[in-house]
Symmetry: C2
Subunit: 483 residues, 2 copies
């Protein structure tokens, strides 16, 4: 419970991250190597992410369903690239009910195959299309180097799977869901992500093309926070997902898949956190306001607590998520630090003087010290709190955007400058041919690969020499070190 400080970001960003995740009670290591325990505070943050996404999925016509955890080994082998991509990462059940299984079962690393099997059964005619399904589930990928939230052997995610009559429809869905992710990231998580297409080297195993939202962390590194894939007819052909069209012909469907995971929690931590701990965007914070009662003795306690409880009830009624910290064995100062560590956007202090003055003190997490503190009247308090929360939400996005923009560099001056930008931990936007050899060279020279070809190209329709090999390139891509 005693929250000592965390390692400063400037000293060791990686240790800062681990410190904050543990001291803010988001997650903990588990006795199973590579698996984590998501603690209540971290899970509530994930519930916020889930809620924000689920609403958007339903508003765009998607339905949730649930498919088996186990996938027959033979299913994975039906799509050649897919099995090649996932084979090294599989957890395999070989014993069930005390007996060795005839066919081993794979613990799902993703569900294109088993959902493909179901779609083949469910889809007969063009009238059944589009079929728009989402699943909230756990998946397992055998990772050797794991980090809480960012890369764990088991993680929680959603995976959308859709089937369409034409490639045009499938591609439109792929882009629509990329847009849903970006909308969520920007407006709920206050993370100014960049939407774009992955290079062929970096795309999903089995996809025609993959798209991502890329976020910049406080150490300058990139984090892929969500992906959306145009699967073409690859899985439809592997699983015989066919439909009868309006002229009674039999056609293969066009499918998509898209996923966002508990990694997003890590992205929120590393986009907004500072040396005092988390800073949570109000829209996702488990508690938007923490009320700390202040009193010296039993005489003032009753009056203060009566006011605290009345105001807490008012805020709750106003739809605001409130925590009253009435722990009696801790000082107000300790509580301030504790809730700063947990990133609660707004702290409300109520003491005897505030009771007398019919006021409260409000302290913003995003503006440290006296500058972020003001005294307001208890009249109209709900509106004042709401406006302040909106201002904090906007400020976190503005700060993250400013931080990001100051570290994005369009490089047209040559390979040395390009590598230099990446080496110093910033992002280089440059003409890129998309070739494998070029991508490998950057990996060797700067331990970085391309992040994406942003949808928002600085020179649409133009072309230029690939910053690596000099051949003519049609698009510019971001390169950066990444998680």
């Amino acid at each position: 419970m005693a929250q000592q400080g965390v390692t400063p970001q400037s000293e060791d960003f990686s240790r800062w991250y681990t410190d904050v995740v543990q001291k803010a009670d988001l997650a903990d290591y588990s006795p199973v190597r590579g698996c984590m325990i998501i603690k209540p505070y971290g899970y509530e943050l994930w519930e916020g992410v889930k809620g924000g996404l689920d609403r958007r999925f339903k508003a765009t016509g998607h339905q949730n369903a649930y498919f088996p955890l186990f996938i027959p080994e033979s299913f994975l082998k039906k799509e050649a690239e897919h099995v090649e991509g996932f084979s090294p990462e599989l957890a395999v059940v070989t014993i069930g009910g005390g007996k060795v299984l005839e066919e081993p079962l794979i613990v799902r690393p993703t569900s294109e195959t088993i959902i493909g099997w179901a779609f083949q059964k469910w889809i007969q005619s063009y009238r059944d299309l589009p079929l728009l399904i989402n699943q909230w589930a756990n998946v397992v990928r055998w990772e050797l180097r794991t980090r809480l939230f960012l890369r764990t052997m088991e993680f929680l995610w959603q995976e959308g799977h859709t089937a369409h009559a034409t490639h045009e429809d499938a591609l439109a869905e792929t882009m629509r869901m990329l847009g849903v992710y970006a909308d969520f990231a920007i407006n709920d998580a206050a993370i100014p992500v960049i939407q774009g297409r992955k290079s062929s080297q970096e795309r999903f195993a089995g996809a025609l093309s993959s798209f991502s939202i890329e976020a910049m962390m406080r150490d300058g590194k990139a984090l892929q926070a969500g992906t959306s894939h145009d699967l073409g007819q690859n899985f439809a052909k592997a699983f015989e997902i066919q439909f009868t069209d309006e002229s009674n012909g039999l056609q293969h469907c066009w499918t998509t898949s898209w996923g966002l995971s508990t990694r997003m929690v890590g992205a929120i931590v590393m986009t907004h956190g500072d040396d005092q701990g988390l800073r949570l965007p109000p829209k996702l914070a488990p508690f938007q306001v923490v009320i700390v009662p202040i009193f010296r003795d039993e005489a003032t306690r009753a009056a203060v607590m009566a006011t605290v409880e009345r105001i807490a009830a008012l805020l709750v009624e106003g739809g605001i998520r409130v925590k009253v910290d009435d722990r009696d064995n801790l000082s107000p100062g300790f509580k301030y630090n504790d809730w700063e560590m947990r990133g609660v956007p707004l702290r409300m202090e109520i003491g005897p003087k505030d009771v007398a003055n019919h006021g409260v003190a409000l302290a913003r997490r995003d503006i440290p010290g006296k500058e972020g503190k003001r005294f307001v009247s208890q009249d109209g308090l709900v509106s004042a709190v709401r406006e302040t929360l909106d201002a904090i939400q906007a400020n976190l996005l503005a700060q993250a955007t400013q931080f990001r923009d100051s570290r994005l560099h369009k490089v047209t001056s040559g390979y040395a400058d390009f590598i230099d930008v990446i080496q110093r931990g910033e992002w280089a936007l440059a003409w890129f041919c998309g070739g494998k050899a070029c991508e490998e060279r950057v990996k060797d020279d700067a331990q970085a690969v391309s992040r994406n070809f942003p949808l928002d190209q600085p020179h649409p329709g133009e072309h230029g020499p690939c910053v690596i090999c000099g051949t003519e390139a049609q698009e510019m891509a971001y390169f950066a070190k990444a998680y």
Copy 2:
């Protein structure tokens, strides 16, 4: 899509169940033996169950968290009864990332052990108690004979795990959560469950005592719909879950666990369903109202659809879950049958005459034919719909209670009558010593075991001769055939 009828309940209840689950699009078989696919409509019903429970858990001070899917084999062995109970049912991962694992990993059949490990780390002092945690998760138990929702190898559930300073507190929690389950079952699912204590033979592997809610299905069989366990100090001792008490002494905690699963969906189907299909309680129905527009030609279509859309928007605004069935290739009659199969509580028909009369027709799913149909004005429609939904909710509970009560028999006239009641598919309440030999005898004679010793005893404080062996018994227990 063409919904043919289902096998009548009276002909073959088991086939009726499977027909309804599939034709109402709740679930489907999967390519992995024993695992099912929960289809969107079934998953939405489960989301209703989740919502109703989660609200109640949070209102009673519980927090959600998430623990690893995999449990080291050694953990299970720490509690002797626990490992003995679960060993035959385990799925075991022996290969990860292409290598044979040094210690196999168990796919969780339940999480007492790994959560016990975490509690040991999280709990230091009496100030950390009670610790009230819930997890929404998938679990795997290797079942040979499976049935959709009722018994599947993988199922979805919630498992609550709590730790307390005293046995009294732990027992109070066990009973509180049993009460939460009963409250949910009765008030949301309209299932009049009976709360009680399981016999020693039927209790959870590792518990001091187990409690259940038992529901009666339309074939008279019992279904255990939720359980709550007083684990004593068994898991606390196995996992060293200790705390420092107020006088600085070190003590083992007292723990509880409680769970409710996707089985509840099967209970809802088999409590309320009839030969036309599902009948869903309005509080949990994915759609509370389906609107079927009726028109003969394009001329009347526009006016009807304008009214339909206006009314749908009004209902949605009033917090009612509405589906407009505007499929243009199906007749109204087909749609009526289809939505009856899916158990939508209230159907609203709107045709040209209704538009002219400023009215709509309402047809209740729970009252067949003309008796359940009436014409109401479009004025005050939202209130009329709300009241009708409340009446349907109450009627389903009343019908299920009447059905149940007519099949509960207190038997004091001897073993032959007792077995006779069970054999004809009803429930016998009789004095029971709780002994293993007696339970075995009933199993042999009537393929039934005790369901529970109801909390609500007909002769509290009294005693009588065990209906099986004649020795003095302190309590009466229900016996019935069961799922």
